[in-house]
């Protein structure tokens, strides 16, 4: 399927501060989508906002990827709530 025919999905997640957005980005980006899964996602951060952009061949696959991402995002936010805020840099 040509790139312009792909389904696309955009998500913008605002965090209380840029540092938190960067932590979420680093926690959620290391694991690639399955290579032959017909879906890809890119994560980026501008200021305090985490941006996620999906491209997928089929809506079914897109739904699975987005829904699993949201579960993981929620886990990151819960972890920050209970074990944050970030400690100051070690001196």
């Amino acid at each position: 399927m040509a790139a312009e025919d792909a389904l696309q999905f955009q998500l913008h997640v605002p965090f209380p501060c840029a540092r938190d957005a960067q932590i979420a980005h680093n926690s959620l980006s290391p694991d690639a989508e399955p290579r032959k899964g017909g879906v890809s996602k890119t994560l980026s951060v501008t200021d305090n906002v985490l941006h996620v952009h999906w491209r997928a061949d089929e809506a079914r696959i897109l739904r699975v990827s987005v829904s699993s991402f949201l579960e993981h995002l929620s886990l990151v936010v819960q972890t920050m709530d209970r074990f944050g805020p970030a400690l100051p840099d070690p001196s």
């Binding site: 290391p30 990151v76 819960q78 074990f83 400690l87």
Partner: protein
């Protein structure tokens, strides 16, 4: 003084442990238990881990009486294991490592078992039998690798036991293997099953198919009891494991055996291995369910060794992997 926090969640146990220079400060764990007749599925297991991992982490810190700032490194299971549970646990490990500004360390699950077994038992250079629901390997250390001398060519020994427990609808609480072990003690009649050692390797899937096939026939005709089948299955599987362990020992000239992994806390397996060791004047090392069964401290302990030898995992390299062989890891902390 080095303090390492370890996260483990590659199968149906979620554990967080804290280790300080060979001392386990805390090691809480929760198990996802499914109804009789059912196994645990990746998505459900991951959901279970996500629902309690933060409570288990809090418990680990409180029990150890440790503040996050005192921790030197955050270790987590990189693999092998089920993808969804591994990923959920890795995400929490990455997040706290960043919040607390600590280095992260991805640990091979099998190496975690071996290092924990060595720490608890004091075995110096043992031939290792690693037996669990997902893995069956005979391992010996040589030239900076834990080398796999023999392994299963299909399913793990624990998987064979778990799936037989499902046939009989045996409870999964606390674990199917534990309940099979208790029933096997009451078995009186030995039912002959296929015995499949292939050189240094073993195969369990044929045994499982065979016993699945004959169970209902034999039980309904009154040829044997469920207890007899549990007994016969254990004797057959464990005899195979003892055989390949003995062969590996003979090959390496080793006088020590260490049993690790969830199936390793089975007393009957330990007895059979002890008999073989006695005949060879070798020494057997084993641990109880606290450390045999998956736990966070084992990941912390392997992480401790790796961290002390200068290793760390960059965030962008902290992806999890369902397949991760024991011999892929360079052992930088042993001579």
């Amino acid at each position: 003084m080095t303090i390492v926090l370890g996260f483990e969640g590659s199968a149906n146990k979620i554990g967080v442990g804290i280790v300080q220079d060979g001392k386990v400060l805390s090691n809480p764990r929760r198990t996802y238990i499914t109804p009789p007749g059912q196994g645990f599925l990746p998505g459900d297991t991951a959901r279970h881990h996500r629902s309690c991992i933060l409570d288990v982490l809090k418990e680990a810190l409180e029990e150890a009486n440790i503040q996050p700032k005192e921790i030197d490194c955050v270790a987590y299971t990189k693999g092998p294991g089920m993808g969804a549970p591994l990923l959920s646990v890795a995400i929490v490990a990455r997040t706290v490592a960043q919040l607390w500004k600590k280095p992260l360390l991805g640990v091979n699950h099998c190496i975690g078992h071996i290092e924990m077994g060595r720490l608890i038992t004091g075995a110096l250079n043992p031939t290792v039998l690693y037996v669990s629901g997902g893995n069956t390997q005979v391992i010996a250390y040589s030239e900076r690798r834990y080398r796999i001398f023999g392994e299963t060519i299909d399913i793990a020994v624990g998987n064979c036991l778990d799936r037989f427990a499902r046939v009989l609808k045996i409870s999964n609480d606390p674990s199917p293997g534990y309940n099979i072990e208790q029933m096997a003690k009451k078995g009186k009649k030995f039912v002959e099953l296929p015995y499949t050692v292939k050189g240094m390797d073993v195969s369990f899937s044929g045994i499982l198919s065979y016993i699945e096939d004959v169970t209902h026939k034999m039980l309904s005709s009154g040829d044997c009891t469920p207890e007899d089948l549990c007994f016969s299955l254990q004797e057959t599987l464990f005899a195979m494991l003892v055989e390949i362990t003995e062969r590996a020992m003979a090959h390496c000239g080793s006088q020590e055996v260490l049993i690790v992994g969830g199936v390793g806390c089975n007393i009957r397996l330990q007895e059979m291995m002890a008999t073989m060791c006695k005949e060879r004047s070798a020494k057997l090392f084993a641990t109880d369910e606290t450390f045999c069964i998956d736990n966070g401290a084992m990941i912390a302990q392997a992480g401790w060794e790796m961290f002390r030898s200068g290793q760390a995992t960059a965030l962008q390299d902290s992806w999890i992997t369902q397949r991760y062989r024991t011999d892929e890891v360079e052992v930088t902390w042993r001579d």
